[in-house]
Symmetry: D2
Subunit: 280 residues, 4 copies
């Protein structure tokens, strides 16, 4: 990691990066990003947005461009999706994040959203990384499903090297031989990142497990592991979702999870305080 | 998993297996197993045992037979190690667990210890599994570093099929391309096991990460993930350890970790109670 | 693979795709693509081109845009590299292939080269796939280092769905835990592809092993496995290469390898003929 | 690999290990081991033995103890299987190899067979390795499905350290995310072993691919990769096999494959001779 001039910790007690998005600060407390895998309609997006906001979410997610394995699968609503997402953000009062796939789309997508997401398949799409680096908006950089910690930080370095310090790393599971879960969520990467980098790191247990029944538990485990937040898929009616319905929470499930998340977050504040006491 | 007659959940609300070892019940509360990687001397073992007991450990671990990659590496003290381990258990008042490698050793090793451990390299050593199944002692079955959930449960099935219901599963990390950590700790396997099996499951963050600095965080994450316990390596002087010194906690580090473990455990009791309330 | 309408074999004895590039036909005989990892200077490119041509290579490779893990590593000469590559092709009489990274570059890069390469990191860069599909030039599609056969063919499907049937698949090794080699070359994928798809498939043993000493052997193994060709890195002076010098053959090594390649190719023609005889 | 005193090459042009079994020398020419996954009956074993001998096999394989994932699957005929295997060897004139699972069985199994096989699940069963080391019979050591080259050689070192130099390494595929094949056959390990070790290495394409249709191709690729032999599953009637029927060749398929194997072997002798010529 010797070439990672900007993303790694260079001096003891170096300040950690805080990414500010409207009145939310990622890297302080525990930030919850929630919303549908893809924007399907205005009604769906706005209803989901309002319900995740009520449950305590901090940021709204929603895909307008979907990277799909098959060229014949639903590819997202594109610009119409972005317009809906922007509206859902306004109606709910939540900042919004969406994935961008193509370097040609970066500048105009910025007009609709607060955070640009670079997905797992594009982690090493260097043209895209440079473009989001230049755009200046905060970037949520997902870990490649095949990437080491060092390669992941190198991709963040591409963004920082363009003058954009606002990168949020997002662990979303790596590919292994285990098939019970869709991916293997690597929670040890969270404290590993804290050791070597000052960037905030969040966890996506929806893609990380691919199983609805495991999402809540892995959210809680992420808090205990020291993550700065989570990103979870919530759909007002998962059975009807055009994408990733198997791993999307319903609004009541999300509401129930959030009670536990906030309670555990409080507890972790006390637990983390034990370190400061003992080091006095 | 259709052939797993004994290890999987067959009826709704099936009682979970509780494994009783002296006055400890694995599967109730959160059980902490601690101790050195290998028994090196009476002094080392007893001092470590007393100090982990003081810090709140429930069970003492210690290796007398070490499976080593190289035939020229320290292979453990053998029977002398078992005698010391037994003594350390008595002096500290802790039940003891040790790894057994050879089916020929099972019956006599049982005279010294309370729990038999089958290691990751022997998960599919079917002769050994049958022998520990017949021995009747509780068995701590580590996950093979290359094994799926289904294969792991099949190995537990070998033990149960011999009439021994007392199996504790232990996640210890799987092998992936990531090299920052020694293995990739698969915490999502914990709630996955809870879905399909009634057996208790604990986590070994020492081997699971191979990095001292990550052990505490991954213990906490294990609690939040719903594990029934952890197994951690503690050495009275890690710098002098003959084996795995890089991932062993010192007694003060373990003491500090245990305060957090117990506090988080209490918090999780409250959080888990929210489910029961909401289902009333 | 049910959704792969265009890339999979749909009827018995379906004709295999032949990709014609000038007077070379990929899918007939055994095609050898050779050249430097990256174009560094006119002198280097032309000398290497002439020497690989003399040794019997069919197509010249050379990178003008290099996808590099670090933003601070040599990124290629860009348009100047393409101009040199075109000239080296003309002087040696070889068609040329180069990697394209950005959808914005596709149309103008086509003016300089005969085949467009999509690299392993961009296998699922769907914007790029659509663009090379529209461009009409033959596409050499490398397997993602993390991708299954099914996912790989889905990416080829993106290109074919744009009306471009001229896709050449290229196995280049997958990422595993084994670290003696840079990647694990999956030669069984070659006959696997022949079972399910009509597309030609070649092998890249340079990236597939990352070790100079293994390249020749894995070329020979590729022929026996039924591959339609190989792509190997050759540099006039590997010790001075700006990129991948460790895995580049020198011209004399390449010359020596080519004698064996052509001899084995002849032998395989006879061996494959045994099948036709026996099925008479 | 610094601790591998006995298995690695220590001086330039060090003689390669030749393992003699009756009139067969493994490490010279190309040795073909063939036979059923498991011994099922005298009739099945003898018929298969005679037919593989007629086709040109050198050694007969057959399992009497089968390591099975499920405790309820067919576990082999045990001693009766060994008696049948011995008889089939005599009737066909082929030396025999069988897998041994338990250190307690090693000494008496030696009375029936010419080569002891240690399977992939037992590669790191150190008790078993020591026992086969002491037994003195040649040992066919399969690569663990999760093991690096260095770990594999360390296991061979356990056998050599007991005074038994006759170890044959057998690549049988490693576990990866790819699921089209049962395992990923790592053919680059063959020339890798030749670089660092003097031990002979063979390839098992039956387990390595798990697909009948790929076995022949991967046998041919193994020859070109420089392997000293192959081990393939042949059953007189694959559809009726109790074990691994999906990957077993029928005798006519094996006969057809052997013609190609012997032809390619001759060709490789000429190709390898090119090196000697050029180094004159």
């Amino acid at each position: 990691m010797k070439n990672l001039k900007l993303t790694t910790i260079k001096v003891k007690n170096q300040a950690r990066t805080l990414v500010k998005v409207k009145d939310i600060t990622i890297g302080e407390g525990f930030t919850v990003i929630a919303g549908p895998c893809s924007i399907e309609s205005e009604e769906q997006a706005i209803e989901t947005a309002i319900r995740v906001k009520e449950a305590g979410a901090d940021i709204l997610r929603g895909g307008a461009f979907k990277p799909r394995t098959s060229p014949y699968a639903f590819q997202g609503l594109g610009i119409k999706g972005l317009q809906i997402l922007e509206k859902a953000g306004k109606e709910s009062g939540l900042p919004v994040v969406t994935e961008v796939l193509d370097p040609r789309d970066v500048s105009w997508v910025c007009e609709y959203v607060d955070i640009l997401q670079v997905g797992t398949r594009n982690m090493q799409n260097f043209s895209l990384l440079k473009e989001v680096g230049k755009a200046g908006k905060p970037v949520l950089l997902k870990r490649g499903m095949f990437s080491t910690l060092s390669e992941w930080l190198s991709c963040a370095e591409y963004v920082l090297a363009e003058g954009n310090p606002n990168v949020i790393l997002c662990e979303r599971g790596i590919r292994t031989f285990e098939s019970y879960t869709r991916n293997t969520l690597d929670l040890a990467i969270v404290p590993s990142i804290k050791e070597v980098s000052h960037l905030p790191v969040i966890v996506d247990p929806s893609h990380g497990t691919g199983r609805l029944s495991l999402v809540e538990r892995m959210c809680l485990a992420s808090i205990a592991a020291g993550a700065d937040g989570v990103m979870v898929e919530v759909h007002r009616n998962p059975a009807e979702a055009l994408c990733d319905g198997d791993q999307s929470l319903s609004p009541p499930m999300f509401m129930s999870m959030m009670k536990k998340v906030r309670k555990l977050q409080e507890c972790m504040v006390e637990i983390n305080a034990l370190d400061r006491e003992s080091s006095k």
